[in-house]
């Protein structure tokens, strides 16, 4: 039944209209999952000498790119890997390999990773780099960005922060790791708009493999079936800068539902996400009907530019649908005429060329509660190919039509930047309101709406990661180690907090970033952002759960953090050390 469930769930993943997966990554004939993973040594999740305590283990799961599964911090002192399973979604599919039930890529399990590590340790293969190459995780001959080859990629830093332990640390063994390497195209797309299906598939994989790992432990330890129920903490250091931010997206609802429903044969599941990095990026605002805002699109942007409008929660879907007025630079504006959900309409300039699109995407929240939404997509201001449509750069204006229901509407601009190491000629747009002030009279950044004064329609409050609006996911914000105050970039929740918990990321206001581990053991780099805060919260929470702390929800976890924090208020900063461990 599990196998069938996995295959059917991934049908959506295989239908890949955005071309996220290379053709040779597709598994042409997914097979049903059986119980051979419990009996065949080649399919084992962990060595017997790496199994966690059935009572006090806690699985750490990571969804990211460039996961350094051979890294020393993911091994035990005895040399065995703590990585029970990793799914490399866009690796070239290897028929007959592990993970035959998966729709694409390869799966590597702990016992196979142990074999690679043994070969490297004995000198039969030349070190960690060859493990990534020979396993198919890094293949420089393929037309995808090989982020797993980077000296210190995003996922390498995140994985080591979330699940890395000194091999000497006896508690390490209680934290087996399940990970997913997302396709390079997901990381490349800074808008994050292609990610939801890959992330949903990743979560299904993690839940399924976590349950199988529990069965594996029972089998190897001779325990009663269903008696091992390890908790799981999932780190997802990804996000969106535009969305409803109310937990109503499919991904947020799924995380909330999984967090509360659980399973008879698996412990509680917690999701940890970054609060976001765009407090001062002018990507968030609000408007009432009849008002509009400047929206500045830079030239030479070879990617689309996205903006979302979300109305208030209301009973029923109104007859007078939400309509937006879009005004391109140098042109007269035009107002949409939506009449039914999931309609789209194309904007043409005077020559008939397509310059933008708008989609009407209301969400049903249950109990006759609705939220209206409109997504605007402006064509690239520099076409990627000569014959393709493009839009003028300059100041566009986005407005809410006076015919729309009288209420406050949230405006969010999608992130659109170049991710370091990836080819994507993106340029970030932003909202413009003359009342929004960037600096005060002394030249310091203005970090809150209250400090700004006036009533700008561009806001700092509520700039949180649009994946993190659910009721149960944990949001981690970043502080600098000198002020112990949220870093200026750290987004704000709806109540102006920098997250549910905070973690030290930046060394000081003027010294952004922290030392992070690279892909290879012993390598390091400097990275910043709340992506580095989330894995610190993940690891802290996993350790608390392994120690038997009875924390089941956001409020209890935050309350526990308060008791352990040297800076507990207004938002607890997690305990930290200034020292970078030497291993």
């Amino acid at each position: 039944m599990i196998a069938q469930a996995m295959i059917s769930a991934f049908e959506q993943f295989l239908d890949d209209p955005a071309g996220i997966l290379p053709a040779d990554a597709i598994n042409p004939a997914p097979q049903e999952f059986d119980d051979s993973d419990l009996t065949d040594p080649a399919l084992g999740y962990l060595s017997d000498d790496a199994l966690p305590d059935p009572e006090s283990g806690c699985i750490i799961a990571i969804i990211d790119d460039a996961i350094p599964f051979a890294h020393e911090t993911l091994r035990l002192k005895n040399g065995h890997s703590r990585v029970a399973s990793i799914w490399v979604q866009d690796a070239r599919h290897q028929p007959g390999g592990t993970g035959a039930d998966l729709p694409s890529g390869i799966e590597l399990r702990g016992t196979a990773i142990d074999e690679w590590l043994t070969s490297a340790a004995s000198g039969h293969i030349p070190g960690e780099d060859s493990i990534y190459r020979q396993s198919g995780t890094v293949d420089m001959g393929r037309p995808t960005t090989p982020s797993a080859a980077y000296a210190y990629g995003h996922g390498a830093a995140v994985a080591a922060l979330a699940a890395g332990f000194s091999p000497e640390d006896p508690s390490a063994r209680n934290h087996p790791v399940i990970a997913v390497n997302l396709p390079a195209k997901i990381t490349e797309d800074s808008m994050g708009t292609l990610a939801p299906v890959s992330i949903l598939a990743s979560m299904l994989f993690i839940i399924t493999r976590a349950r199988r790992l529990c069965r594996f432990i029972e089998k190897r330890r001779g325990l009663m079936a269903g008696s091992v129920r390890l908790p799981v903490v999932v780190n997802l250091s990804f996000g969106l800068t535009a969305g409803a931010r109310d937990g109503s997206s499919l991904l947020e609802q799924f995380m909330d539902a999984v967090s509360v429903s659980g399973s008879d044969d698996l412990g509680p599941i917690h999701f940890v996400l970054p609060t976001g990095n765009h407090r001062l990026s002018r990507l968030h605002g609000h408007l009432n009907p009849g008002q509009d805002l400047g929206w500045r699109l830079p030239p030479d942007d070879r990617t689309i530019t996205g903006l979302e409008v979300w109305g208030p929660v209301r009973e029923g879907l109104p007859d007078n649908k939400l309509q937006i007025t879009l005004t391109p630079p140098g042109m007269a504006g035009a107002t949409t005429a939506f009449s039914a959900p999931w309609q789209f309409t194309v904007m043409h300039d005077a020559t008939g060329q397509e310059i933008a699109r708008a989609y009407y995407t209301p969400r049903y929240l249950g109990n006759d509660q609705w939220r209206e939404g409109v997504t605007v997509i402006v064509m690239p201001t520099c076409p990627e190919r000569l014959h393709e449509p493009y839009a003028p750069a300059g100041e566009w204006r986005i407005g809410i039509s006076e015919s729309s229901v009288d209420a406050e509407y949230q405006i969010g601009v999608q992130r659109d930047e170049v991710i370091r190491g990836f080819h994507r000629e993106a340029r970030q747009s932003w909202l413009h309101d003359p009342e929004y002030r960037i600096h005060d009279e002394a030249g310091r950044l203005i970090e809150t709406d209250a400090q700004n004064g006036g009533a700008p329609r561009v806001l700092r409050r509520g700039t949180m990661n649009a994946y993190a609006g659910g009721k149960h996911s944990l949001r981690a914000g970043a502080v600098d180690g000198q002020r112990m105050h949220p870093s200026p970039y750290c987004s704000l929740l709806h109540d102006d907090a920098g997250g549910d918990c905070l973690a030290v990321v930046d060394r000081a206001l003027t010294q952004a970033g922290m030392l992070v581990r690279g892909r290879n053991s012993g390598s390091f780099g400097v990275m910043s952002g709340t992506s580095m805060a989330a894995p610190q919260l993940t690891k802290w929470l996993a350790r608390q759960l392994a120690q038997g702390q009875p924390v089941n929800d956001r409020a209890a976890i935050r309350a526990l953090a308060v008791t352990q924090s040297a800076t507990p208020f207004p938002t607890p900063v997690l305990p930290h050390s200034d020292k970078f461990p030497p291993f």
């Binding site: 292609l194 400047g294 107002t335 009449s339 989609y359 995407t361 997509i377 009342e435």
Partner: protein, 87 residues
């Protein structure tokens, strides 16, 4: 602090009658049924790849064909949860 500026939505013939007009065409349904990951962005990407002959184009739908999608999203969610914890 910057001066307060009242920004008003302008009709296309107001204030700048000489400016060329941008126009929206008649709304069409983007999809006829819901599935995970479906979004305006994915619709755009699908169309772009179809124009490059890299995938099949999406079918044309009646303007009201997407009316059931919001409700179908709830059914999809329940289905995903059932699959995650199926025994």
């Amino acid at each position: 602090m910057g001066a307060t500026v009242e920004l008003k939505c302008k009709g296309k013939d107001e204030e700048h009658p000489s400016r060329p007009s941008a126009t929206w065409d008649s709304p069409q349904a983007a999809y006829g049924s819901y599935r995970p990951g479906l979004s305006p962005y994915l619709h755009y990407w699908h169309g772009l790849r179809a124009s490059r002959k890299e995938t099949e184009p999406l079918p044309d739908y009646d303007p009201d064909a997407g009316s059931e999608l919001p409700g179908q999203m709830q059914e999809t969610l329940e289905d995903l949860i059932r699959r995650s914890f199926g025994s």
